[in-house]
Point group: C2
Chain length 551, copies 2
């Protein structure tokens, strides 16, 4: 079935110059135009038709079976397939085994259906094939990027008109940039923060030039740290490793009962650092606006104030929650974000863009000067070249997609999506609490919640038990929840993810289901069905010796 050989059509293909040339030229005649359109129809409706066929994640073919069909590692000398056959293959053999992230029953990750026009806009980006690293391969598109970044900056910082007039097309200043994803957007922010905090002084040329060792000497420190709540994304540790400060120096701060950074713990950590015998510099403190696991928002105003007092770079990781700013109803949840020195937002998350678009913006239009690089052939000082201040080099023109989307949707359009997600998530929490087999673990603040199977009588036993009993019960519950999540995923009708949370009241790690409601077609009825299915699986589980958990 997979990689099936289309014997009926098989004629030997030979690579030749004329055929090759035809793939490069503009299509002037009607025949070749209609062929192109036919391919595109095949892509649009072929993929959709196939994705429709299974409402869940994917057809049940195990990874091992699948991977057996993807083991040929030789690049064939002559063409193996024509475009039409490659498309047919993708439609028939790849799409059905990909994950149908467009299904409203797919509520496990931060990936969802996207508006169809996003695909059109991405196609335009590919067809224009501009490289925004430099003006000579992008021209107006570099100018457009500056405008779109300024729009995002304004959404967050709400500076006055004069500020934006001055900076929107200023070739000396930079309000932020696009990059592949949130991990790299955060890395860009910490890179800038590190270099700003260990800037040139008294004959020291700065950490970027002289390195960390010299910087520690110049600043008479022995250690740098970045502070983030225990719910920080794993990319923060990765950035710590990359930047040379060591991932063990990413200090995690406890969260309060609402999964927000505990400000007293933060204050104590800062005090401890100051009093430590090891001279330590705090490079940055991170406030999360929508943690990956619980969707909660750290107390940004308080963190911002503490950073200002202590002159520490304040970064807000709003990869998930940033677009909430477009909702008048919920933007208050991100109060304090404008205190941030830098903010990450992912375009492919709640801007509903296709995969591959991180964004980072900086309050200070000159702060990115600490990461400027030049070369003789590009990025000359004083040019508009966006590559001067950017972690990446060559980049596609993501700004075209975001610009088009903002114009087609308006902030109100996005707000409708955001509000649907949060409102539906709140209703889902109510539904979970109504059902005796389930226990809501983290209440939604944005559109993410966690819960688990934990029948009511067990909840009572947990409330009354001693630590040892609680630990024992949780162990068994973890096993059950892990099994139910796996069985539901494998059944292929719906998908809820799972994670482990250290919830204060429960002591150790507990396994929970994690729901992310961003697909506008996901509604409370569908979520109810997902719970029904989980109950059913739970009741049907054999061999786990969980009789005691059932009513």
């Amino acid at each position: 079935m997979i990689d099936k050989i289309r014997i009926e059509k098989k004629t030997k293909l030979i690579a030749d110059w004329q055929t090759l040339m035809r793939t490069f030229v503009n299509h002037k005649d009607d025949a070749s135009r209609s062929t192109l359109v036919k391919y595109m129809e095949q892509i649009f409706f072929g993929l959709h038709d196939f994705l429709k066929k299974h409402v869940g994640i994917t057809e049940e073919v195990s990874l091992k079976d699948l991977s057996r069909n993807f083991t040929n590692t030789l690049i064939s000398k002559n063409p193996e397939k024509k475009l039409a056959d490659v498309i047919a293959d993708l439609v028939e053999n790849i799409a059905p085994h990909a994950v149908n992230v467009t299904s409203p029953y797919f509520v496990g990750h931060m990936t969802s259906a996207i508006p169809f026009f996003m695909v059109h806009l991405k196609t335009i980006v590919a067809a224009l094939n501009q490289n925004v690293v430099k003006i000579e391969t992008s021209k107006v598109v570099s100018i457009l990027e500056k405008q779109v970044i300024a729009k995002i900056h304004r959404l967050i910082y709400e500076k006055d008109e004069a500020f934006y007039e001055k900076h929107v097309q200023n070739i000396q200043t930079t309000l932020g940039c696009f990059i592949e994803d949130g991990t790299l957007a955060n890395l860009t922010a910490f890179w800038v923060a590190r270099n700003s905090m260990l800037a040139p002084k008294n004959g020291f040329a700065g950490i970027e030039q002289e390195g960390l060792q010299a910087a520690y000497k110049a600043y008479q420190i022995e250690k740098c740290v970045i502070l983030v709540s225990k719910l920080g994304h794993y990319c923060v540790k990765k950035a710590g490793g990359l930047l040379g400060i060591g991932n063990q120096n990413i200090m995690t701060i406890n969260v309060d009962a609402n999964n927000r950074m505990d400000i007293d713990c933060l204050k104590k950590a800062i005090k401890d650092i100051k009093n430590s015998s090891v001279n330590t510099k705090i490079i940055a403190i991170i406030g999360i606006a929508g943690t990956t696991e619980t969707g909660t928002v750290d107390p940004l105003p308080e963190i911002g104030e503490i950073c200002a007092e202590n002159r520490i770079h304040f970064h807000v990781d709003a990869a998930w929650g940033g677009p909430t700013l477009m909702s008048e109803k919920y933007r208050h949840l991100l109060k304090g974000i404008k205190l941030a020195d830098s903010v990450t937002i992912d375009g492919h998350k709640q801007f509903y863009m296709p995969m591959g678009c991180g964004i980072v913006v900086f309050k200070d239009p000159s702060i990115m000067d600490v990461v400027a690089y030049h070369a003789n052939y590009v990025n000359r000082p004083g040019s508009v070249d966006l590559g001067i201040k950017s972690l990446a080099g060559s980049r596609e023109a993501s700004s075209i997609i975001l610009d088009g989307a903002l114009k087609i949707m308006g902030s109100r359009g996005y707000a409708l999506l955001i509000e649907h997600g949060i409102d539906t998530c709140l209703r889902f929490a109510e539904e979970i609490e109504k059902r005796p087999d389930f226990q809501l673990i983290t209440r939604p603040e944005l559109n993410i919640l966690t819960y688990r199977i934990c029948p009511f009588h067990i909840q009572r036993r947990l409330a009354e038990g001693n630590p040892e009993q609680i630990c024992d019960i949780n162990k068994k519950l973890n096993k059950i929840n892990r099994a139910v999540q796996r069985l539901q995923r494998e059944a292929g009708k719906s998908f809820v993810s799972r994670t482990k949370l250290k919830i204060n009241q429960h002591g150790k790690d507990i396994v929970v289901f994690r729901c992310v409601i961003m697909n506008p077609m996901t509604n409370i009825k569908i979520l109810g069905e997902i719970l029904d299915e989980q109950e059913e699986i739970f009741r049907g589980i054999e061999g786990l010796r969980i009789e005691e958990f059932r009513n």
Copy 2:
């Protein structure tokens, strides 16, 4: 003209749920299907038609004038435009001011026309919208990525069938990964190299965990360096800054008369480092397979041997030249590449993929273990999740494009393109040498060359002059060449880039034209026209007091 208001169509748009929903659903009825196809036709043929209208880079509208139309920084509350109008805008107002990188007269940068099917494949990637960071949002596409990376690994390393059978779908090992671009692919390689060279030992947990300061202590070193030829890409310095070793510790090695790393200089540098009073570790030595400026290939076998002798990570930056391996005629130019511990190749360069595809592969399938990261909700140990060992997090499924392209083109198809580029470049060099006004500066090895305007009688004066006279003449020539390049670019018919090279025989920096021949429609006739135009501009230049340079 730009951003013109379409008064005739203007009706107030309101964001509402029903309209929004229609952008998310599958299109079942014929009417909405044909609308979608209409949009796609508009994109395909609209863009092509407009790009055709100017053969050069772009219409002559100055950047300042252009940027005046991109200053509004408010996201409008309600929709500003419908998709059709956004597309029309892109076709009418953006495309004509973007750079026509598809023109065969655009020979200045590493961006070119791409086969039309690349756009189709990119559209499929966007429509499927998989996120290959984890199997739960990509399934078969993660498996496909492993296969495609193995194909590239095999193209470079040519290990035996057993090796690939073992590793192609092995979830414990990783042959490489995709990332946004070559800068980040190189960064990935140096990150891995740094961590391998400063690995855990005797109670030291490794640089990734403990940081650079602790690593230097554990290894009793005071400095780390990376060695690269003077023609190394600027991203190497950027990586040095990012990784904490300091960009001043990227040591550049002189090149020989053919612009290849001078092996004697390299040996001397290593010796000097060993004998230095500052304990220094060499993290990596880079061999370039196609320098950005001259397209030359470093002596890879010699560098590889030196690295092996000294147990230094050998990285080959083949961002540009990598695909030359598909040409039987020219693959010998990359001899020695299989000695590399890591290799970077850009998909959006000579694999002719749309912008946004870097690739890095590693000889040792386990070396990426030094950059592995896990989290509770994804990237669990033992999973197929590709995000475990990857600089980026969320990523689009670039493997679909490269896989399709390799099947449609075959290595022979790519070879035809590569060979056309090198052969045409060689003929172009001959043509330059025939014309008395020009001087060939760097002879093509791959498909890049540099030259300048330097009339024959001036060449004679340069050959006979004393250092001061030479310097004086070169200064004037630099001014002329800078002016001609700018005027040609502004005329908008063709585009040749410029850079500054320190050519041994000329002493100081000289300004040169740089040509990259990758567009298969660029031929010697077109290149002749480009020279004609430059001659004409040169003869017409006023106000530069260059009478003495004219015959």
